[in-house]
């Protein structure tokens, strides 16, 4: 009987070890993703280093589902640059091009006007009520790099949450059932 008990114990201990290993490897994946994201934040100086284009206002340059890499440096903002900005009272940041810049002589404070390449008029209608210009603090970063289509993954997942749950479930199942 002692022999059987030993066997059961060893099986139990194996399963426990396997469980711990799987939990650790899952933790490694999650934490390394977090490390990469935070490292990108440090390198680019932008609070969200990668954004997904959600609207067609910059077509044909940027289409819905494209990914933009942002960079926020101390360099002054100039006309023609594509900036990502937040407007007070709006949750989703906007990616548009700068068409006018007025930079103060004494303080260096800038007044910026933006426009979407595919829009007819400038962005004053999108700004907060009565706001004529964007200031430095509205701007989250400028677009420096471009990758097409990849952002569709996140768009699909936010618009069809079921797919997200299926994907998470399938991945979880894979992690639990996989051996080695």
């Amino acid at each position: 009987m002692g022999w059987i008990g030993e066997q059961i114990d060893s099986i139990k201990s194996i399963q426990f070890r396997q469980l711990v290993t799987q939990a650790i490897s899952l933790g490694m994946i999650v934490t390394s993703a977090l490390i990469i994201w935070k490292a990108l934040m440090c390198v680019t100086g932008s609070e969200s280093p990668v954004v997904v284009v959600l609207s067609g206002s910059m077509e044909p340059g940027f289409k819905r589902g494209d990914i933009l890499f942002l960079h926020m440096s101390k360099d002054p903002i100039r006309a023609g640059e594509i900036v990502v900005f937040n407007v007070d009272g709006r949750e989703i940041p906007i990616v548009h091009r700068v068409i006018k810049v007025h930079e103060r002589q004494d303080t260096g404070e800038v007044n910026v006007l933006t426009k979407g390449d595919n829009n007819f008029g400038d962005d004053r209608l999108l700004y907060a009520h009565g706001q004529l210009w964007l200031q430095r603090h509205h701007i989250m970063g400028r677009a420096v790099g471009f990758l097409p289509y990849v952002g569709w993954v996140t768009i699909i997942m936010t618009e069809k949450p079921i797919i997200k749950y299926i994907l998470i479930g399938a991945l979880g199942l894979l992690v639990i059932t996989s051996k080695d």
Partner: protein, 167 residues
């Protein structure tokens, strides 16, 4: 070891790695292109020049813009965004940049053009400094790649002096 899952995983990883590598190479290959665009701009006419009720100067211009931007296009170029900006300094502002005209060039065939236009966006100063003001006309271009790094450059052209009086 040789289950369907493992093989699918290996194939997917390889495919994504190769795709990422090719995107990187395509973006890097843009560095070998050394463009030499040319452009000319003429201010043909001042349509009107006035002080708005709120005290800011506004002017309307007619422009002739000709440019040859064909050398900007490479196989990784999706489009070139080109715009003409008036740039000047005032006692209050160290830099004023006002886009007067812009356009999207979708392909190399359209990169050589001549356009006769009035200013597309309003040329309004912050204040009343435009009488007798010298400004630079600068042609800027932003190259949008099919994938990878965006690049931009400019060509500063002859300046223009605005008249001393409203008209």
């Amino acid at each position: 070891m040789h289950s369907f899952g493992y093989r699918a995983n290996a194939l997917l990883t390889l495919a994504i790695t190769i795709l990422a590598f090719m995107c990187g190479i395509a973006s890097l290959s843009d560095n070998f292109n050394s463009p030499a665009p040319t452009a000319q701009v003429q201010v043909l006419n001042i349509n009107w020049f006035q002080k708005k009720p709120d005290g800011d100067d506004e002017i309307s211009l007619t422009l002739n813009i000709s440019a040859d931007l064909q050398s900007l296009f490479t196989w990784n170029t999706k489009q070139v965004f080109v715009f003409l900006a008036a740039e000047y300094e005032t006692p209050k502002n160290a830099l004023n940049q006002i886009s007067l005209w812009d356009g999207i060039i979708p392909s190399k065939e359209h990169a050589k053009f001549l356009i006769h236009t009035t200013n597309k966006y309003r040329f309004v100063d912050q204040g009343s400094n435009l009488r007798g003001k010298d400004f630079n006309l600068t042609l800027h271009w932003h190259v949008m790649p099919k994938t990878g790094k965006m690049s931009a450059n400019k060509l500063v052209m002859t300046g223009y002096r605005l008249p001393e009086t409203y008209r």
